[in-house]
């Protein structure tokens, strides 16, 4: 579904990604872990199309299309979803209207009829129950005055509504207490299916207690330095990142 080949990316002239390779197939859950500053969020930004990042080398194929050629909005309408690490507050734009616009833009792009108010409400009710989000949040302006947990839950709700083929969850666990984490993880698990791929980006192993990945990759200094199964995450939790980063530093110095 997603094929990343030797991606290099800069921001303000500084190289952050230094040759990333990754293959993700439908139905798989991949976790990317790594210490702060390793390039995890940059990878998410590059995939979603943030303009301040410049891709200098490499290619990304998403559902047989050249992802890097698509605008941010077209990537979303093709089925790529980014759950933001810091969801943006947008006063004055109602969450419900925003999600309705997003759902219908996607339908239009894929040649489907726009949902009418009744069908949209029905869909919303169903997805609200799925991710345990309250109606009162959705009638407010986008994320305005939401707690950290509410913002993250709203991201997962949007994911449920937009039914992406590939969801990239950027540090969705950050800033959540254990109860909020459990609710968010439960929502994500319900959205797991054989047609959908999920890329979890996280610093800590704890999210992976709730969402079991098929593969774990360690990103360090702009490269994936180690890949494995979920046991790799446990090893990291136990030994810290040093055991991998020291190895990588040593390899680089040789």
């Amino acid at each position: 579904m997603l094929s990343i080949k030797n991606i290099h990316a800069n921001i303000e002239g500084k190289e952050i990604l230094k040759g990333i390779n990754l293959e993700i197939k439908a139905g798989e859950v991949h976790a990317i872990m790594g210490p702060n500053g390793s390039g995890k969020s940059t990878l998410a930004s590059v995939l979603a199309g943030r303009e301040e990042y410049e891709v200098t080398e490499g290619e990304v194929t998403f559902l047989e299309k050249d992802l890097l050629e698509l605008s941010t909005e077209d990537r979303a309408r093709e089925g790529l979803f980014l759950a933001f690490q810091y969801p943006v507050e947008i006063p004055g734009v109602s969450t419900t209207n925003f999600i309705k616009a997003a759902v219908n833009e996607k339908r239009k792009y894929q040649g489907e009829e726009a949902l009418d108010a009744v069908a949209f409400l029905k869909m919303m009710k169903q997805k609200m129950a799925l991710v345990e989000i309250d109606q009162s949040l959705l009638s407010r302006s986008i994320n305005e005055g939401f707690s950290g947990g509410e913002k993250k839950r709203n991201e997962i709700f949007q994911m449920a509504m937009l039914e992406p083929k590939l969801a990239i969850l950027d540090e969705t666990d950050s800033g959540l207490d254990i109860d909020a984490l459990r609710i968010v993880a439960k929502g994500i698990n319900k959205l797991r299916n054989e047609n959908r791929a999920i890329l979890l980006i996280t610093h800590y192993q704890r999210l992976l207690d709730y969402i079991q990945p098929d593969y774990v990759h360690v990103l360090y200094n702009g490269k994936i330095v180690k890949s494995g199964t979920k046991e790799l995450a446990l090893e990291l939790e136990e030994k810290g990142y040093d055991f991998i980063t020291d190895e990588a530093d040593l390899a680089a110095s040789l």
């Binding site: 979603a48 605008s71 979303a76 943006v88 997003a102």
Partner: protein, 434 residues
């Protein structure tokens, strides 16, 4: 013939046209002032950013108002909610009763030609208040309006009348044949415990230049309640100086919203004189500028008595090569202790070639007051734009959503729902067409 010669000629004709009244004298004073001051130039501090005099390089005429406009022209411009409104029509600056529709009864609402009011039962009111509601901005352009008071409007809401039908004023300028100068003049008197909802709009017919130089005075008595809305959405050939003076002579409540979408050069003077203890005043403004338009809002809140409250919020967006100006002056006179006066002006610039000039001025002569002012000039929130696009909303639509949200704080201040929805649609259309 130059404009000045033309004005002189027209002025003499007007003064000779009937017996002398209080208004004839007022006109004479006005014309003296005009001759002395001339049109304001950018050398005057109050006119630093807006050049009106160059607009008068073109020759203007006072166009005939009698048969210029048909009812069908008015049908095309009626505001939402007009079925329940008193609709007053001005053509080329003259109030035309024949084209107007009055729905309130005579006990609820008195409507007269200003010249008639100056002669009859209301003459004391006219004498005391016409041209007296504010001492500010008695400059040349204001004097030009006063020099030519003709077919003005006198509107009075009698004591205790909570007028449920709003008053809509449609200003129509006929620029189909020539460059037209319109100078509407109105005096509105809101008596004790009365309520008025007033909206003004402006429409130019034809493609020649239209210049509207309006003076509106509203006098508000004890326990009265006034909502005033001004919607400017005219052609690029339509320029305007609109001076609104609101004189709160009794403890009263005034709420104003000025929305400027389209037009050539627009200057709005909104002067509030808080002349009774405990007055409350709210001033809101929204200007969404594109193309080459120029909108200048000057507000003035003069706190003369104690315990008055005023709050101002003006928001603007400037795109293309447009220019926005905000100048907000707050005066707190020595007797105006316990004044609360707040002011804020916020702007978004969407293009490298757009300009915003913003100037808050506080002049405080009392010691026990709370006043604040602030202004910002920024850009569209890139992070918010990315968030919307990352959900599949195209860039242009996302920008419109964000700009609409930005304007929403002001839009909600338009209290009557039909009017608010009407303006919301105008804003959406205006923002969507690039």
């Amino acid at each position: 013939m130059t404009n000045v010669d033309y004005f002189k000629d027209q002025f003499e004709q007007l003064q000779d046209s009937g017996p002398a009244t209080a208004i004839t004298e007022l006109r004479t004073d006005g014309f003296h002032t005009f001759n002395k001051s001339g049109l304001p130039t950018y050398k005057l501090e109050e006119w630093k950013y807006t050049n009106i005099s160059s607009l008068f390089d073109k020759a203007y005429q006072f166009a005939n108002a009698d048969q210029a406009v048909q009812l069908s022209d008015i049908d095309a411009i009626r505001l939402a909610g007009h079925e329940q409104a008193n609709e007053l029509v001005f053509v080329n600056g003259r109030f035309i009763p024949a084209l107007s529709t009055i729905r309130s009864t005579e006990t609820q609402l008195v409507i007269l030609a200003l010249e008639e009011a100056a002669k009859g039962k209301y003459q004391e009111i006219v004498k005391a208040h016409l041209g007296q509601s504010s001492e500010y901005l008695k400059d040349g352009i204001h004097a030009l309006n006063t020099s030519f008071i003709q077919d003005g409007l006198f509107l009075l809401i009698p004591k205790g009348q909570q007028l449920t039908e709003p008053v809509y004023i449609y200003h129509i300028a006929d620029a189909r044949q020539q460059n037209t100068l319109s100078q509407p003049r109105s005096l509105i008197f809101v008596e004790e415990n009365a309520k008025l909802q007033l909206t003004e709009t402006y429409t130019t017919l034809g493609t020649a230049e239209s210049f509207t130089n309006e003076v509106l005075e509203i006098v508000v008595k004890e326990n009265a309640f006034v909502e005033y809305y001004k919607i400017q959405h005219d052609g690029l050939n339509a320029s305007q100086v609109g001076s609104t003076h609101i004189h709160q002579i009794g403890r009263s409540y005034v709420h104003t919203v000025v929305v400027s979408l389209n037009g050539g050069v627009i200057r709005n003077n909104l002067n509030l004189v808080l002349d009774a203890a405990g007055n409350e005043t709210h001033l809101y403004g929204l200007y969404l500028l594109k193309g080459n338009s120029h909108v200048d809002n000057h507000t003035l809140v003069d706190n003369k008595q104690q315990n008055c409250f005023s709050n101002q919020l003006y928001k603007g967006i400037a795109d293309d090569t447009s220019t926005g100006v905000f100048s907000g002056r707050i005066i707190v006179q020595p007797d105006a202790q316990k004044t609360n006066a707040y002011q804020s002006n916020k702007n978004i610039i969407l293009s490298d070639k757009a300009t915003i000039n913003t100037k808050p001025q506080l002049e405080i002569f009392a010691d026990d007051v709370k006043c604040s002012h602030g202004c910002t000039v920024g850009q569209l929130d890139e992070e918010a734009l990315f968030y919307l696009r990352a959900r599949g909303i195209p860039k242009e639509a996302a920008e419109v959503l964000l700009l609409e949200a930005y304007a929403a704080d002001i839009l909600v201040q338009i209290k009557p729902e039909p009017l608010r929805n009407h303006v919301a649609e105008l804003i959406y259309e205006h923002l969507s067409i690039s």
